[in-house]
């Protein structure tokens, strides 16, 4: 599985090349539309897999306000799923509302874990005195 750090690098690369951008950005719009989660009140980053250390760390560090809103969105979507209905159109998540609210925390948590692994496996050469 690729890490969030790799995903971030890939998306930056795509956005930096006009040709790639002109292909992938419209494709992503189609993907999101077919996915339909915005119509149930969810942001893209509400769908990320939660059961791992990086995500748990990021969720713990999320500001209380953002965390509350996230839980509210998930509860709303759950209700919409149970009742087999989409939300009214005015409650859909608009593209500009679908922010990267979790990514900075995910990247930081991943960087910390990576640094710890590097330091745990460091090979030290004795210094010549």
């Amino acid at each position: 599985m690729s890490t969030y750090t790799q995903l971030e690098a890939i998306s930056k690369f795509i956005l930096s090349k006009p040709m790639l951008k002109s292909v992938f950005v419209p494709a992503s719009r189609v993907f999101v539309n077919l996915g339909g989660y915005r119509k149930m009140g969810l942001k893209t980053q509400d769908l990320f897999w939660e059961e791992n250390e990086v995500m748990q760390t990021a969720l713990r560090r999320l500001p209380a306000e953002d965390s509350y809103k996230r839980v509210y969105r998930i509860a709303t979507a759950f209700q919409a799923s149970l009742t087999q209905q989409l939300l009214p159109k005015d409650q859909w998540i608009k593209p500009e509302e679908d922010t990267d609210y979790l990514i900075p925390y995910l990247l930081e948590a991943e960087a910390q874990i990576k640094e710890r692994e590097e330091l745990d496996n460091i090979v030290v050469k004795p210094r010549s005195l």
Binding site: R60, R61, P63, Q112, E115, R116, L119, I122, V124
Partner: protein, 395 residues
């Protein structure tokens, strides 16, 4: 023969054993004793005295050697372990001291680490919530279980109220926000506020490293209102088995005042009851008497802590100690004054980086005793407050 050698020694003691210089606006005091281990401390004028909300300085102390922009806390710890170095912090009422200790050749690494703390600490929100706050609260809780420390803190509060009287550690119920800690840190780690003291380093090397690493510090320094002293009383009920009564005499920080501590309690030999005026009181009542001189830039506090497991014994010892102290206010035995002067001279000379202390003689000590011990002290009582004496029963 003996007299001559003593004269030669005192001449040697008068010579400056350390050198001082300046780089990037920081005063550097250093001493090269040729050892393989070096010690470099960054002395920050940022103790509890300067924190607007009690506990800010304590939290800032815990933020030292944490994540900085160039190097994370984990990396600093692991790299220091590999280099065989150590770092630590110490918080006082006026000064926050960051100390690093390392092998001589690692000077550049640790000077850079100290400069990173001053210039690039990141004050991360999750670090504050996950590590800094719990650690500071645990330390405060530990200190709250130590009646002696509680009494010393309370007597500072009673004697100075604001400034030097601000509680040293975080206080339960007083919330300090991360923004306040960060603002305090940015104010405190500034050019006029820092000083470097080093031992076992070559002065020229240290100076050029400090000039490189500490360049571009914010200008400025912290200010605090001039200290005023009071004769208050503080009574703290505590479940701890130790009963403590502490007197605090506040005065200007003069060398004669520093010698008064030796007049009250003077123990030179292990297991001896001591020759100070209060040592006899301690052994008579089976309590412990600890006398300490807390010297600050514009005030000193001489604290006398009488403690023991029995409130009745501590009360009778306190009454007698107060009487002894009052008697010292009217007359001091010449022998006792002479002894106090000798002890004061020794402790002044023993300090590594102390500037040459002004000479104190017996008459100065007697005069200081007259002035200080005839005034009313601040009193703090910790333990079974119903059984321990009130200030007006003592002085």
């Amino acid at each position: 023969m003996l007299r001559k050698s003593v004269g030669q020694l005192s001449k040697a003691a008068g010579r400056r054993a350390f050198s001082s210089t300046e780089a990037s606006g920081l005063k550097i005091t250093s001493l090269d004793d040729g050892r393989a281990v070096s010690e470099v401390s960054l002395i920050v004028k940022g103790g509890s005295r300067y924190s607007q909300v009690p506990g800010t300085a304590h939290l800032l102390e815990k933020f030292a050697f944490r994540d900085t922009a160039p190097r994370s806390a984990l990396r600093l710890t692991r790299e220091s372990e590999l280099l065989g170095g150590q770092f630590g912090t110490q918080l006082g009422r006026e000064k926050l001291v960051l100390t690093t200790k390392f092998l001589r050749e690692d000077l550049p690494y640790f000077v850079e680490a100290l400069s990173n703390v001053a210039k690039h600490t990141q004050y991360k929100a999750y670090e504050f919530a996950e590590e800094i706050l719990p650690l500071a609260q645990a330390e405060a809780k530990k200190a709250a279980g130590n009646s002696q420390a509680v009494a010393i803190d309370a007597v500072h509060g009673a004697a100075f109220r604001n400034g030097l009287g601000t509680p040293l550690l975080v206080t339960p119920g007083v919330n300090v926000s991360l923004a306040e800690v960060k603002a305090f840190g940015e104010q405190v780690y500034s050019e006029g506020n820092l000083e470097i003291v080093a031992r076992g380093v070559i002065e020229g090397d240290l100076k050029s490293l400090v000039a490189d690493n500490f360049a571009g510090l914010r200008a400025g320094s912290v200010q605090s209102a001039a200290t005023k002293t009071y004769a208050g009383e503080s009574r703290i009920a505590s479940a701890s088995p130790e009963q403590v009564v502490t007197f605090g005499f506040a005065a200007q920080p003069t060398p004669a005042f520093a010698a008064l501590a030796h007049l009250l309690s003077s123990r030179s030999v292990k297991w001896s009851p001591g020759a100070g005026a209060l040592d006899a009181v301690a052994s008579k009542h089976g309590v412990s008497v600890i006398v300490a001189n807390h010297a600050y830039s514009d005030a000193s506090l001489l604290t006398v802590s009488i403690s023991g497991p029995s409130a009745a014994a501590v009360k009778s010892a306190s009454v007698e100690a107060a009487a002894v102290i009052k008697a010292l206010g009217s007359s001091v035995e010449p022998d006792a004054a002479k002894r106090a002067v000798a002890k004061a001279k020794f402790s002044a000379a023993e300090a590594l980086f102390a500037p040459a202390a002004a000479a104190v003689d017996e008459s100065a000590v007697t005069a200081a005793a007259k002035k200080v011990f005839s005034s009313k002290p601040a009193v703090a009582v910790v333990g079974q407050t119903f059984a321990l004496p009130y200030a007006d029963e003592l002085f």
